[in-house]
Amino acid sequence: MEKTGAEIIVECLEREGVEFIFGIPGGCNLPFFDKLYDSKIRLILTRHEQGASHMADGYARSTGKVGVCTATSGPGATNLVTGLATAHMDSIPLVAITGQVRTDVIGSDAFQEADAIGCTRPVTKHNYLVKDVKDLAHVIREAFYIASTGRPGPVHIDVPVDIQRAKIEFSYPEKISIRSYSPTIKGHPLQIKKALELIKAAERPLLYVGGGTILSGATKELRTLAEKANIPVATTLMANGAMPFDHPLYLGPLGMHGKYSTNTAMQKCDLMISCGARFDDRVTGKLSSFSPHSKKIHFDIDPANIGKSVAVDVPVVGDLKTVLKELNDQMPEKNHKPWIEQIKEWDKKHPFSYKEDQGKDPFIKPQYVIQELHRLTKGEAIITTGVGQHQMWAMQWYPCKYPRHFLTSGGLGTMGYGFPSSIGAKLAFPEKPVICIDGDGSFQMTMSEMATAIHENVKVIVIILNNYYLGMVRQWQELFYKERFSASCLTAQGGRRTKENEPDPRSLKYIPDFVKFAEAYGALGLRLTHKEEVEGALKQALDSKVPVILDVIIHPEEKVFPMVPAGAGLDDIIVDMA
């Protein structure tokens, strides 16, 4: 049958099972949007293309399916770049389709022309410029295949507007094969054998679990391994939920703001088993003193991750789920009670903790808000975050019950990720509570998507832990830059403050007023200034029929502890200020 390029795109997307497309139209993707008008795919009109890319990302992270976003040429395409880079760093499968100027004017500085594939090349797994309509269907099939297999990632397809209009005889490519692309799935049996021997011989083994475990869908296999060989599990920021938080073998998070006990276990273990983690500097601290006594096994689907920053004894390249199954079949029962007891001791010595505000008019503690949320939602809600202190508190105080329930920009650290990604996740799971734990700075980066949430009736909850600051920046300035708060205060001219001239934030006018902001959009806005209000407000939010903003005023001096200062070793963890 004869079809236009635009019709082909829509048909291919439908056949891939796409449920949502997030994006904004413009001159160069109008033929595509015209065909979407009649499609059963639900179109979500966002207010900014960055929002579209994060929504597609939130959908992808929460479901495990490929998220799809679209934009017009030029500014539309460049606005997508942050979202693609965010997804790229965290290995999230996305397909982004952008319009491009007509093929005959590409390179002429045409109106709204940008070298879109040039812009996205370093931040995508692969990208395409389609210059012939007969390649289009193939390219889309390949894009979905590449995005979702191996180490997942975003794929960008740039389609000139004349290609969207061009007609050809169309037949759907049922099969595709890419000779130069074949990810390793099965682990090498010899390497698995070696890993097995190391695990059998270990006395103080530790599972170091990263986001790859969730991406691979290997959480059940992870649990089997942990239980069979009696190995405690520590997770990275990206792996919150890879092990149920209430499992007796689950220790908690690792890294810069992880637990004292997990980081100490990392330093003292005699065998580290890394599962889908990539030895990020926020986890390892100073490399020369990282886990000095351990043999290291590294399971990873990406051969480029092996030995990238830390030398390992037994690398196993393959899909974690497949590899762990293989390993578990041969794994004998083990017992490491003394080691596990030892870690529990460390945890008792320095658990995550916070002190109540001792002031006359005490502030709400951010940790308490998240604790209450955890209690009310039993740790089963989907949580998204911005980037900063609130993100770290969310990791510390909202350990998840399930995988794919903690959506955060770990690799790129993209402020503004939280709110739009919560919309994407809530669209996928309308029955589940979806809560964005955000910072006042981060929220302002993408808060225009409130209109999208209202129009699409997406009942997300945003909890702004409002410290009137770019709080994480302030924390670093307080600790390492002599308390010179340069451009981190969100209520001062030029953002400049010193500790001496710090007023009580509650006496200041915060711009914008987030409660009025919520009301302006038809959302529910509540400001919380006292501890007693927290439980009631959270319940009200969870029952709300419209999106909610809880503007929780917290103290600007609140800091995230423990902390391993950047560049220091894990042994140099600062437990708190005292």
Binding site: I117, G118, R121, P122, K125, H126, N127, L129, K131, I146, I178, R179, S180, Y181, D302, P303, A304, G307, K308
Partner: protein, 182 residues
Amino acid sequence: MESEIFVKAGLLMKDKNFEPKHTISILVENKAGVLARISGLFSARGFNIDSLAVGETDDPTVSRMTIVVKGDEKILEQVEKQLNKLVDVIKLGDYIEIPHLERDLALIKVKADKNDRSELLQIVDIFRAKIVDVADHSVIIEVTGDEDKIEALIRMLGSFGILEMSRTGIVAMARGNNSLTI
């Protein structure tokens, strides 16, 4: 010259600051954008590519690139892994420890009056190069060989005055059974 003998004996490798040259051949899909993808991986890490040669293979859908680059060994190893991951890269080989041939072709335009020509011819002969064009005041010399040979010839021709030079960049191939094919 001496240093290269040591490199082959693997001795200088221990010196942290010594960065040996790597000659890398890559079989890639013969498509638009592939070169940018590959060079991007080097430039993003601040690596300068010493030489780059690209051409079709016997299979017109496949191109072969040969890249000569030096830099931090660990980073280079990472770049090679990243190159291997590119969807358009079919196969990659690093010749650093493999017996192989390297060839570069240079066209060198040298200042030469009638009375310079016999001396030039002698040099050209020794290097098994060719004079491929003669004009009133210049000649063009074509030479093929490995880098050392070409550099040596360039040094010899320096005293005549080099007017212009163009080099293809190195192409490489392993000796014997060791072949880079699909």
